[in-house]
């Protein structure tokens, strides 16, 4: 039963992630990314990470993806989105990576060796039943300093986003650089 659930979630994750790359309209890409986030959250629930599943839905689907959709709709992109002209070079990078992955997986020296040889024996103690409480205790004891650094990262990102996205001072008076170049032509 759990294997069936895993196969469903994994299949949907792979299918929607391929759709994110393959679809031409960025709105459709963002929406298939939304479906992928929900299935990743489901996978987290099966892995006993209920807090992270909730955070995944709230932060990714609720905040980040809405930001993407806002920008897509503000910019109002015309749909002439072909693939990049360097896709042949990209193919030369991706095909060796794919072949390496297949060789690693098929020769038994990669992922399967971890299972058979049992390099690390998983500890048998049960994971805490209250996932949120356990994460909070870990976060505020062992990882207290990275937590503070994360808040600093968020502050810097907020200031940077405001500075980058606000119009240039005095732009209302002068015509923008685009208008100037068009006038020069």
């Amino acid at each position: 039963m759990s294997q069936l659930i895993f196969v469903y979630f994994a299949g949907m994750i792979v299918a929607t992630s391929i759709l994110v790359v393959a679809l031409k309209n960025p709105v459709y890409s963002a929406l298939s990314l939304l479906v992928m986030f929900f299935h990743v959250a489901g996978l987290f629930v099966t892995l006993h990470a209920e807090f992270l599943a909730a955070v995944q839905i709230i932060v990714y689907a609720g905040a980040i993806l809405v930001l993407y959709l806002f920008v897509v709709m503000i910019l109002n992109v015309k749909q002439d989105d072909r693939y990049h002209s360097q896709w042949r070079i990209a193919g030369f990078v991706c095909v060796p990576l794919l072949i390496e992955a297949i060789v690693l997986l098929s020769s038994g020296r990669g992922a399967r060796a971890i299972d058979t040889q049992a390099m690390f024996v998983p500890s048998q103690e049960a994971i805490a039943s209250d996932n949120t409480l356990a994460i909070g205790q870990t976060l505020f004891s062992t990882y207290l300093f990275p937590f503070e650094v994360a808040s600093l990262v968020l502050l810097v990102a907020m200031i940077g986003a405001i500075v980058l996205a606000k119009p240039e001072i005095g732009e209302q008076d002068n015509p923008g650089p685009l208008v100037q170049t068009k006038a020069a032509e």
């Binding site: 960025p26 992270l52 994460i135 907020m158 986003a161």
Partner: protein, 101 residues
């Protein structure tokens, strides 16, 4: 019946490769940022799978930090896209060749 850890590794490898391919072949900057999100999610799946395997909560805490960094990356990245669109009125990355040699 538990799922072997290698299945999760294969899944996250496939998603990560898809993200790399998206970064390399798409021309739309927004699609490239979405592909970066794909790669971040692939690493998150890895972190949570190993966290469950070792019964260690450190992996889940690191996913939390990865979420923070992803949010910061999206905010700054989208601000850069808006600034670029304001000055060049396009988001096709082949038009942004100012730094080409």
């Amino acid at each position: 019946m538990t799922i072997p850890i290698s299945y999760y590794l294969i899944l996250s490898g496939i998603v990560f490769l898809t993200g790399i391919a998206g970064v390399l072949i798409r021309r739309n900057i927004i699609a490239i940022l979405l592909s970066v999100e794909l790669m971040l999610n692939a690493t998150n799946i890895n972190f949570v799978a190993f966290s469950d395997y070792f019964r260690d909560l450190g992996g889940q805490v690191f996913v939390f930090f990865a979420l923070t960094v992803a949010a910061a990356e999206v905010a700054v990245g989208l601000a850069i896209i808006i600034a670029l669109h304001r000055s060049r009125s396009t988001i096709n990355i082949e038009e942004f060749n100012l730094l080409k040699w």
